[in-house]
Every structure is written in C-alpha cells, then in structure tokens.
C-alpha cells in the first residue's frame, strides 16, 4: 500500500540513467504543451538516455525523439516505472 502511494508521486527527475517509465501526466500546463508538441505525452514510454554533469539537464528518449530538459522541468512529469 505505502509503496503504491510512493509510486503515485514518482516524477521523471527521480529516474536513474537507463530507467524506463510510462508517462502518467504532466503537471505544469505550460510545460506540458511544449513537451506534448515534441512527442512527450501521457501513455508514451520514456527512457532516461543520459544525464549531464550533476544530473541536470537530462536527455530522454520518447516516441523516437531524444529530448533534453532540465531537472526542474522533469519534476513536473509524473511517471510509472516499468520493470524490464
């Protein structure tokens, strides 16, 4: 039960490099528009491909695109991890 609740609050910035997850929702509307336009939308699988020094910015692979974003922006993407 507790574990489920923690998962509900998992955001993309918490994922390690190589981590995979499904996008649940994007909390910030303004950022969500930009992200959705670039192919990063709820329901898609996202993979953290690499991170810069200090884990910021991060680069994610989603619907065939590689997108760099800052940690602060990744924090507004709620995700559900996928186990391989």
């Amino acid at each position: 039960m507790i574990l489920n609740k923690i998962q509900d609050f998992l955001t993309l910035d918490m994922l390690k490099s190589g981590g995979k997850a499904i996008i649940m929702e994007i909390l910030d509307t303004n950022i969500s528009i930009k992200l959705i336009e670039m192919g990063c939308l709820p329901g898609e699988t996202v993979l953290v491909r690499m991170t810069a020094i200090g884990k910021d910015p991060i680069a994610i692979e989603v619907s065939g695109n590689l997108i760099a974003l800052r940690r602060s922006e990744a924090r507004s993407i709620r995700v559900k991890p996928v186990d391989e």
């Binding site: 509307t29 303004n30 950022i31 969500s32 528009i33 930009k34 992200l35 959705i36 336009e37 670039m38 192919g39 939308l41 709820p42 491909r49 690499m50 810069a52 020094i53 200090g54 910021d56 910015p57 680069a59 619907s63 065939g64 695109n65 590689l66 997108i67 760099a68 974003l69 800052r70 922006e73």
Partner: protein, 709 residues
C-alpha cells in the same frame, strides 16, 4: 510578364527544412527580418517549367501553431493575416519520414485552416534504410493532399515536388478540430465577427489574441465575449487540442505505415552520444573543438585579413596618386576606403565562424554542446547555447553576436548579445600590447612566466569575469513575460551537408555586408571628417605655418610633413572634441591627446595605436612600438609637469579599453540583431559607464594603495 506565386515552407525543426529551401532556391536568397520582429526571414526564388516564378519563404521551424516563443508566432501570423506580405498561395509542408506522428500534428493544424498544402516526406532514403514502410497512396487518401517522398540532401524527388507545386496543392477535406458541442455555435458566431474562413482560425485567434496588438476593437470585444461565455482556458485547451490530434493521427498512420525495428540505428547513435556527452571526455572534446575554432579565427583568418588590409592600403595609395589632391582624394583614400576595409576585414572571421557553427548545427553537435554546458551557463542567465558566441567574442564580437541566432530563448539570447563585447576581442590586442609594454617590465618570474604575458592573460580573464558578472546583473534586471525553459530536441547525428554549410556562410557574410556595413561606412566618414578638418582659423594657421617653411632636403621635408600632420590632428574637430572631453576624462588620468584617441577608437579599437602614433609625431601603424613608447613616456603635463603616462594612468587606460563599448561595428550588429535602439544604447552605456567607474576607481585609489603598501 509571367505570373508568380508565393509559397510558405513550414515544418518541425530538424526536418531538413533549410536543406530543401537551399535545394530549391540555391543562392537566389534574401535574408531580412519579419516586420516588427527580430526573427530572421529567408525568402528565395525559383522558376517552374511553365515559367511561373515562385517566391518561397522559409518560416521558422515550429512544432505547432500555438505560440510559445516569438519565432513560433510567425507561421500563424503569416498564414491567417490576409494583409501579410508573405501570405502564401500554397503551403509546402516538410516532414521527417521517420518521425511522422509528431511532424503531422502541425500539418493537421494547417489542414484545419483550409489552406492548399503539399506534403513532402523528407529523408525518405533514411526511413527506407531503417525499414519504415510508408504507403503513400493510403496517406494521400487519408490526408487528402498530394504527398511527395523526397530526400533534399540527395536531391531525390525534387522534380516530382516541382511538378506538384505547379499543380497548386490541395485543400484537404479532413478535419482535426476538437471543440465541445456546446460552443460550436459560439465559435461560428466568432468566426463570422472576425471574418475568418474556418472555426479553427477563430480558435487560434482566441489563443493568440492577447499578443496581437493590431486586433481591431470590435474583434477584441467578440474574442473577450467568447472567452468569458465559455470559460476559455487557453493552456488546457491547447493541451487537449494537441492530445486529440495525436490520437487521430496515430489512428490514421497505423493503417498506412509499418514501423520498423530501429534499435540498430539507435545503438549507433547512442555510441556517439556516449562519447560526445561523456562527463569527462565530452568536455575535453568540446574544448578541443573550441580550440580549433579559436585557432582558425586567429591564425587562419589572419592571412585573408592581412591581404584585405594590404590591398586596401595599396588601393588608397594608388588613388592618392591617381586623382588630384584635395578634399575628394582625401575623402576617398582616408575616409571611404578605410571604412570599406574596416568592414571587409571582418569577412574572413565571420565566414570561418559561421562555417564552424553551421557544421556543428548540421551534424547535431551544437545541441549536445548546449546539453553539456547548460548547467554552468544557467547560473548567469545564459544557456548552453551561449558558450560558442562568448568564446568567439575573444576573436571578434561581430561574428560572435551574429552567432547568437541559434539561441531560441529570447532572454538568454539578449543577455548573450549584451555581454559578448566584454570578452577581449582581437582589436584590443594591439592596444593591450602597447600599454602593457609601457607599464609592465619584460621580466621572467618563477622561471617560466613572462610578466607581460601574465598581464595580458590577466586582461583576458578580466574580460571573461566582467562578461559573466554583467550577465548575472542582466539576469536579474531583464524581465521576461514568456516562461523560460530549456526543452531542446537533440537531433539525430548526421554528416554535414556541404551545400547547406556553404550557402549559410555566403548568406551570413552577405547579411553582415549589407546591413551592418552601411552603418560602419557612414560612421567612418564622420570620423574621417572630424579628424581631418578643424575650425577654419586654427587650421589655416597650421597650414600657413608649414607653407612658409622651405625644407632644405628630403629628410626635413618628411619630418615637416609628419609634424604638420600631428599639428593638424591636434587642431582638428577631433582634437577639439578631445580637449572638450578632457575635464570629463581628467579624473581617469587621461589628457586630451588620449581623448582624441578614445574618439577615433570608435572606428575600431586598434585605431588607438595609429592615432597615438600620429599624435606623438610618428608615422602611422607601421612605426615601431619601442620608439612610440619612449615618446609617450617622455611626455609631461604642460602645467603640472607630471608624467602623463604614470603607472596609474596606464592601468586605468587598460581597464577603460577592457570595458568600454568603443566599437561601432559591434553596435551596428547589435542593433541589427536586436532590432532595438534601446538595447543597443543599453549596451553602449552600461559598458562605457562601467569603464568610466572602474578606471576612475583605479586611477584614484591605485596611488593611495601603493603608498600604503
């Protein structure tokens, strides 16, 4: 008289839009700005088989018609404003064949505006190589428009595309508009009161309306009424609109496209990324690349630059002999020609820098640089993409400021433009060398370090620190309405397309020549006038004085000519200006002769050396620094008899040259790039203000400090 049509080229970023534009138009291109904004506009021409002349506009790459940055408002404005000069008869939509789902979201918005469209599926060769299968007939049916698979790089399918252009495209009957049933009536009413052709057009007005100053009052009232009646929340609407489009497009595409397993392709890309964005090697590689750019700006560009200067000197000597002496001769050989050479001399550096940046951008590396440098640059209100302009500024601020075009984030771009001229450019170098030689002994310390070299390096560090400090201040001062974020696509690595690179270089050089060049020539002529004319009374006295002396031999004739030149400059308008500003610059330790040099430096900083040489009775730039330094050190204040070039004065002068904005070329480029007199003036005054304050502090406090220690 053959008829002409207008085409707009629209598509996502990184779809090969510029490559197609170049393939269609070649060098028949013009760059300028869109009316009222600083976004670069490229238009070009080509002729169809039937003789129709096509004017094509390359619109900024954009992911949707919703505006987030200034660039992205342009496709919308061009498309919906019936009075817009670039309003197209036909939209040429370009999409990356391997990434259709995302690309077609923007297309679906254009479809809802009911404009005639042709869809070009670019990089079809790569999609095929990856194993993606696209059923073109199925797509044409579903999207209701002609579709042409092409490869702009390899010139595949271009003939077919031209044929389709001559057929005029098609208005698709499809609709992707997503609006609630209850408001359709309201939306229709709005559509009528705005006088637009589609509901989606009216909807886009609702999203854009607040930014549009030209909105008519009755239109504004209609928009406001709709907004309040339907609790219009632009953000959520945009999000839902996009999500709905994705859903519809996915459904269509799944029937027409067979996706392939691209993991082999991806693995190769990942391997390159693993090296280029490596937490250690990534930086080493980046600094190596910078070193290469830096080297070529300094050394490689040096040969053509010297050749340009030499040929202009030769030309002006020839002209001086060819046309009869007098004002016209002097204007041409000392006013216009140096002005022209002052512009042309920048071309090698601009060409080299824009070549490197075009290659970095075309290969996808520039986006990786932004990725690895963003964290560091962010603290100072800059972003990852500010690095290259800043470093290039150590060669010359002019091409560096032109290189800020890649920064999408407006605030970061503006800050980068404002602070780049603080980086020590190569024009400061002769001034630094002359002055450091005066103040710092040529001695070796700690075994290997040359003291003068250390001082010179210190000045470069000072420039960098000043740029970062200024950026931090601007970060706080500049308010931005548009939310700043750093969401950046890292495009697929590709080999650079030499054609695209070459055309970019030519266009950058052309843009500089014709836009900044005009201002530079104009100011050069003004400076020439100030330095070669003076109030008639004083000037005639000098001329009469020298006319009266009959030289005994050639040597004396030469030295007389030199001292006449010196006295004329002292009595010119520039000399008067120098004397006029003396009370202002006295507290910095500068006399009126330095004042003259400060004024003429506005043509280019290195002119300081030439002016000082003339003032101290030596021949122009060619004279040797040691003789000049000796003359400078001998000079004393006529009233106080104190040395003019005291240590404090020299340091103060160095600080002044490090900070002050004394370069008309940079100002001209800043004005061109920001399209704002306000920010150009901000740059002029903040830099010169800082120069004044710090030189004042140094000159006043240095003697106190040396007495204390």
């Amino acid at each position: 008289m053959s008829k002409g049509i207008k085409i707009a080229l629209i598509g996502n970023p990184n779809t090969g839009k510029s490559t197609l534009f170049n393939a269609l138009t070649g060098l028949k291109q013009k760059t300028g700005n869109f009316p009222g904004v600083t976004i670069e506009k490229s238009t070009g021409h080509f002729t169809l088989e039937d003789g129709t002349i096509v004017e094509i506009t390359d619109l900024p790459g954009s992911y949707s018609l919703f505006p987030k940055s200034l660039d992205e408002t342009i496709p919308f404005k061009v498309l919906i404003d019936p009075a817009h000069p670039q309003r197209p008869d036909l939209v040429l939509f370009i999409a990356d064949a391997s990434n259709l789902k995302r690309n077609l979201v923007l297309l679906s918005q254009l479809i809802d505006l009911k404009v005639p469209i042709i869809l070009a599926l670019n990089m079809i060769d790569q999609a095929k190589a990856k194993g993606v299968q696209i059923d073109i007939t199925c797509m044409e049916e579903k999207f209701g428009m002609p579709i042409v698979p092409i490869s702009a790089r390899k010139n595949i399918g271009i003939d077919n595309l031209l044929h389709q252009i001559s057929l005029g495209g098609k208005v698709s009957a499809q609709s992707f508009t997503f609006d609630g049933q209850t408001e359709i009536e309201d939306l229709r009413l709005l559509q009528t009161s705005l006088g637009v052709t589609t509901r989606y057009n009216a909807l886009l007005h609702l999203h854009h309306g607040f930014t549009n100053k030209t909105t008519k009052p009755d239109h504004k009232a209609a928009l406001d009424k709709f907004r309040s009646n339907n609790l219009f929340d632009s953000g959520t609407r945009q999000r839902d609109d996009l999500l709905n489009r994705y859903k519809l497009i996915s459904a269509i595409l799944s029937g027409c496209i067979k996706e392939a397993d691209t993991s082999a392709f991806k693995r190769r890309q990942e391997k390159i990324d693993a090296i280029l964005t490596h937490k250690f090697w990534g930086y080493i590689i980046f600094f190596a690349v910078l070193f290469l750019i830096f080297q070529s700006l300094f050394s490689l560009a040096d040969y053509p630059m010297k050749a340009i200067i030499a040929s202009f000197n030769w030309l002006s000597e020839r002209l001086e002999q060819a046309i009869p002496g007098g004002a016209l001769n002097d204007l041409v050989s000392n006013g216009i020609l140096p002005g022209l050479s002052g512009i042309l001399v920048f071309i090698p550096q601009i060409a080299f820098l824009s070549m490197f940046i075009a290659i970095m951008e075309d290969t996808g590396y520039l986006a990786r640089v932004a990725f690895i440098m963003d964290r560091t640059m962010r603290r100072f209100g800059l972003n990852g993409k500010s690095v290259v302009p800043l470093i290039s500024g150590t060669a010359c601020a002019v091409p560096a400021i032109m290189a800020t075009r890649n920064i999408e984030n407006r605030k970061s771009r503006l800050i980068t433009i404002l602070v780049t001229p603080l980086m020590s450019c190569s024009a400061r170098l002769p001034v630094y060398i002359l002055l450091v030689g005066l103040a710092v002994p040529n001695r070796t310390v700690l075994g290997i370090f040359n003291l003068q070299g250390l001082a010179l390096m210190g000045l470069y560090v000072l420039g960098f620190v000043a740029a970062i400090a200024a950026a931090t201040v601007f970060k706080i001062l500049i308010k931005s309405k548009i939310k700043q974020y750093f969401i950046l696509e890292l495009p697929v690595y590709r080999l650079p397309n030499l054609n695209t690179v070459a055309i970019t270089v030519v266009n950058k050089v052309k843009a500089f020549l014709f836009q900044a060049g005009k201002i530079i020539v104009a100011i050069s002529i003004i400076l020439w006038f100030l330095a070669s004319y003076g109030p008639p009374g004083a000037f005639r006295k000098v001329e009469e004085k020298y006319a009266a002396i009959k030289p005994v031999d050639e040597a004396q004739k030469h030295s007389l000519a030199l001292s006449e030149k010196t006295e004329k400059l002292q009595n010119s308008f520039a000399g008067d200006l120098g004397k006029a500003i003396e009370p202002v610059i006295r507290p910095l330790g500068f006399d009126w002769k330095i004042g003259i040099a400060l004024i003429t430096s506005f043509a280019a900083r290195e002119v300081f050396v030439g002016t000082i040489s003339t003032l101290y009775g030596l021949e122009g730039e060619g004279s040797d620094f040691n003789q000049l330094r000796a003359n400078m050190l001998k000079s004393r204040d006529p009233v106080t008899h104190r040395k003019i070039y005291s240590f404090a004065t020299i340091v103060s002068l160095l600080i002044f040259y490090a900070f002050a904005m004394q370069c008309m070329s940079t100002l001209a480029v800043t004005y061109k790039e920001t399209a704002s007199l306000k920010w150009t003036m901000v740059q002029l005054f903040y830099m010169t203000g800082a120069a004044y304050v710090f030189s004042l502090l140094i000159y006043q406090l240095l003697p106190v400090a040396t007495r204390l220690f």
